[in-house]
């Protein structure tokens, strides 16, 4: 099984706040997913506390599912507990919003179902 190891500090340095910063890590993970079975991202207990960065760099992979089976192929190593919680909150929030959007679209596409 092939593995790619990505070190957050080497890739992003101290630029770990904005969506642009997150996009840099997102792209590196994406490239690695194309050539390796597992991608290990090392956070080294660096606290991020940026919703924009974590959403763009990490959560986006799970929402867009550009590569197959990302859930088992991306390993996040050394993420602080609060950042783990934040990742969970962002994911839940986005999933909830997408479900809401899908519901809205369904209603628009089948207007007769609700009116008699």
């Amino acid at each position: 099984m092939s593995e790619e190891i990505l070190n957050l500090e080497k890739i992003c340095g101290s630029n770990i706040y904005s969506r642009d910063d997150g996009r840099v890590l997102y792209n590196r993970i994406n490239e690695s997913l194309k050539v390796a079975d597992r991608v290990i991202v090392i956070f080294n207990e660096k606290e991020i506390a940026s919703e924009s960065f974590l959403d763009e760099a990490i959560v986006e992979h799970y929402m867009s599912q550009q590569s197959p089976n990302v859930t088992n192929r991306i390993i996040l190593r050394g993420v602080t507990k609060p950042d783990q919680m934040l990742l969970g909150r962002i994911f839940e929030y986005r999933r909830r919003l997408e479900a809401k959007e899908a519901k809205k679209k369904n209603r628009k596409n089948s207007p007769n179902e609700t009116t008699r």
Binding site: G13, S14, N15, I16, Y17, S18, R19, D20, D21, I40, E47, A49, S50, E51, S52, F53, D55, I58, Y62, M63, T71, N72, I74, I75, L76, R77, G78, V79, P82, Q84, M85, L86, L87, G88, R89, I90, F91, E92, Y93, R94, L97, E98, K100, E101
Partner: protein
Amino acid sequence: MPSVRKIVLPKLVNESWSNTLMKRLGQELDTDETVILDAERVCWISPCGTILLSSFALRRLMAKKAVQIILPSNTEPRQYIENSGLLKITRSTNMLDAIDVNNVQLRLLHKMEPLVPESLSEFVTHQARNVDDDEKYLLRMWITELLTNANDHAISADFGFWVCGIYNNSDHNIRICVADSGIGIKQSLVNAEKLPRNISDGEAIVKALEEGMTSRTGKTGGLGLKHISSYVKSHGGSMTILSGTGKVYLARKTKRVKMNHQRYQGTIVSVMFNTGLISSNGDAKPDKTPFTFE
């Protein structure tokens, strides 16, 4: 002798005087005469006032129009204004490099500088001594979110965005103000086809506070302004958002939407909360998530 236009600032340039200040600055922004900001009597300036003055001076200088400042005679505000970089802006020929970047009270940023959210969070959490680590993390998160929002919406790296934070010892209030000079909330949501063109700036701000509202196309929104405002309100604070001609004030049981006569080019978010009222509120923990942590 060349003619000049003078704006005399009052003793207290507080939040409620910001409207008057914005109107006066707006009137003088494009004049070819030299504009003098007379701060001689000033004892205190709110973060919002500091940002308005600074962005006015910067806009004038970038348009190669003269602006001068008369510093306060009082030592404390004088140092405060010197620290804020206003004096350096007016004296320098290369004003963009001249701003004191080491001062947390006022910073002009041309991109998201990593040190800023850290130092601003430290500044806030240092004052809020009674809070635990979880709460400090949340504070840091909202501050970072405010800054990244401004960074994402700044119209250009030249104009960048402003951040200013002040702690008041006497009432234990922290005020943080972040301002960008972008196209404003309404226009960015109209461009993303999320809102109709005929909506007012005030209504657009209210819409921007709804869950999931984002200017990003084809994607769901981030936690955004809605969550920042919920956090501030639940901690007894208040938040004012000013964009274009719209102004929205939010507190725990209050929401006021107003229309300003003077347009502000960009968005200002001003947050105020009392450090004595911050306490851990046990944020809900997420359910099962798909991430593999090691």
